[in-house]
């Protein structure tokens, strides 16, 4: 079966985002960019499904297609996924950061072309923090969704997914095709080896434009401003636990 994994190029996880002085957004000039960490987990799981690693039967997945929507440099993000073990990439070039609804509509069009059995994707991107595209794609396709996956089993045309919920986990069975979004505990993504990075350079990336898909990507939201959050100032250092307890009692916290 075929898996489609959408990936996004975002600010690196370890970089502190800084708001632009003119309040129009976050300053991304000369900032390190990487694959969204949750998307890396999705790519890793797809590759394990193909390799038959862990509890997955070998050959559960036969082809992994990765797709990104973004600037030309998002090719690097796709190359990273190809080096991890994906088979080919699609880049839908866009110089503007599209809203989740527009992204979901573009992915719906990609699904119509590629006809994957499973869309595996990160639960949220660490820039917009919307946590929306997977659920919206499932809605547009009228497919079942299993979000925040901590464990995925594929067998008999079904995805059995253990999902993170408040207070514990819930297990769902969804007939394929389905959309599964992944959470932290699912796996630890690999680092691509140098030979695999070299091999990935020869893998195909199809270059597309948003206009190729003929979907409405007009924004529904206007960003009025982007500001820095209020800062909290550092308090005092206390010498020991006894002093701490006395301060907390005075402050009425205990």
């Amino acid at each position: 079966m075929k898996v489609l994994v959408p990936v996004k190029r975002v600010i690196d996880y370890n970089v502190k985002a800084r708001v632009k002085a003119d309040q129009t957004g976050v300053d991304l000039a000369n900032v390190k960019m990487s694959m969204n960490p949750f998307d890396e987990i999705a790519v890793e799981e797809a590759v394990r499904l193909k390799e038959g690693k862990e509890h997955h039967a070998a050959g559960t997945v036969t082809e992994i297609v990765v797709v990104s929507i973004g600037v030309t440099q998002a090719q690097e993000t796709l190359r990273t996924a190809l080096a991890m073990g994906a088979d080919r990439g699609i880049l839908i070039q866009s110089d503007t950061d599209l809203e989740p609804l527009a992204v979901a509509k573009l992915l719906q069009a990609v699904v119509a072309e590629e006809k994957p059995d499973l869309v595996l994707m990160g639960k949220q991107s660490i820039d917009g923090d919307n946590n929306a595209v997977g659920q919206m794609l499932a809605a547009l396709l009228d497919w079942p969704q299993a979000t925040f996956a901590a464990k995925i089993e594929i067998a008999g045309g079904k995805a059995t997914v253990t999902r993170e919920v408040d207070g514990g986990v819930q297990t769902l069975a969804a007939a394929l095709p389905a959309v599964v979004t992944v959470d932290l505990r699912l796996n630890t993504p690999r680092y691509a080896s140098l030979p695999n990075i070299m091999k990935a350079k020869k893998k195909e990336i199809a270059m597309k434009a948003v206009a190729d898909y003929g979907v409405d990507t007009a924004p529904r939201l206007t960003v009025v401003k982007v500001t820095a959050p209020p800062t909290r100032s550092a308090g005092i250092k206390v010498a020991d636990a006894a002093e701490l307890v006395s301060k907390l009692k005075t402050a009425g916290a205990l």
Partner: protein, 309 residues
């Protein structure tokens, strides 16, 4: 303009996050209805009816709604949507699961985890792990919004709204298999007055149990963890405090062996009083802590237990 709040509840009572979402809804319109989806959830609906300011409570029941399956919730809510200008839900794991699906079915841009209502179409929400606040104005006719509960005060009790049954859907898309809830006598992380959290410095799941949990129990606190501690397997995922985990704002937050990564700070910096215990005097957690102790938790936590008596 009328607003529908989709309640977060456990079948018998409604969670505090629902009261807080009602407060956000009342900032949009005085006409606020609450929808309780579930199975055998009449008691929760009766409790929702007591929230002050609620016009009426709708109760939708089905087998799938009993497990809050996104497809069934979506079908139910989309059926009710023509009567409302805005749909709000707490940004719980359930709300995050079904609200974007509802938004897509309505061809609307969802607005995630708002922390402030500026006006009926303009909202503030954190982005980039809370390192920036984005003010967005929506041009959609219908708003679909999740609300970060810690940013709103809870609506008071004292209402007496009527409860009305409405059709509850079964969508037959995904099937419920099982559920495993962590049984705990501790308060819920999102609603606790005191939270004790442990970080990567704890070094193992055993140490996490042995150090963090007794301190939490002594204080009647909920237990939290940094993403690093969850990643390393020291604590379960639902302990995670941070931008991608739970956002908490207790009266007292005690961070043990947590360095204070950006994404963790985003999840707890609105706490009233923050205490940090860390042996690294330069750890970023001290920049937000009201009281800090520079020292090894192995020494400080036992001393703290003793000082608490």
């Amino acid at each position: 303009m009328a607003v529908l709040v989709i309640a977060d509840h456990d079948g018998s009572t409604v969670r505090d996050s629902t009261h807080k979402t009602v407060t956000a809804a009342l900032a949009l319109s005085p006409d606020v209805d609450v929808l309780v989806v579930g199975q055998a959830a009449r008691a929760a609906a009766d409790r929702a009816a007591k929230i002050a300011g609620v016009r009426k409570v709708l109760l939708a029941e089905s087998g799938e709604l009993g497990h809050t399956l996104a497809e069934a919730v979506t079908e139910t809510v989309v059926g009710l949507a023509p009567g409302y200008d805005a749909l709000l839900s707490p940004a719980s794991m359930d709300g995050k699961n079904f609200m974007p699906r509802i938004a897509a079915k309505l061809d609307v841009a969802p607005i995630s985890e708002i922390v402030e209502v500026v006006s009926a179409d303009t909202f503030v929400r954190p982005i980039y792990a809370g390192n920036a606040l984005e003010t967005v104005k929506s041009s959609d006719g219908k708003k679909v919004i999740t609300v970060r509960p810690t940013s709103f005060v809870a609506a008071a009790e004292g209402g007496s709204a009527p409860v009305e049954s409405v059709a509850g859907a079964d969508a037959h898309k995904a099937a419920f298999v099982a559920e495993e809830m962590v049984k705990s006598d501790r308060p819920e992380l999102g609603a606790a007055k005191i939270v004790v959290s442990g970080g990567r410095a704890l070094g193992s799941a055993e140490e996490f149990h042995a150090v963090i949990e007794p301190l939490a129990d002594r204080l009647g606190a909920a237990v939290g963890a940094s993403r690093a501690a969850v990643d390393a397997g020291y604590a379960p995922n639902d302990y995670q405090v941070g931008q991608t985990g739970k956002v908490v704002a207790p009266a007292l937050y005690i961070a043990v062996g947590i360095s204070g990564a950006i994404q963790h700070l985003a999840g707890m910096k609105d706490s009233k009083i923050i205490v940090a215990i860390n042996k690294d005097a330069d750890a970023p957690i001290f920049q937000v802590a009201d009281y800090g102790i520079v020292g090894d938790y192995k020494v400080v936590v036992p001393e703290l237990m003793a000082a608490l008596g």
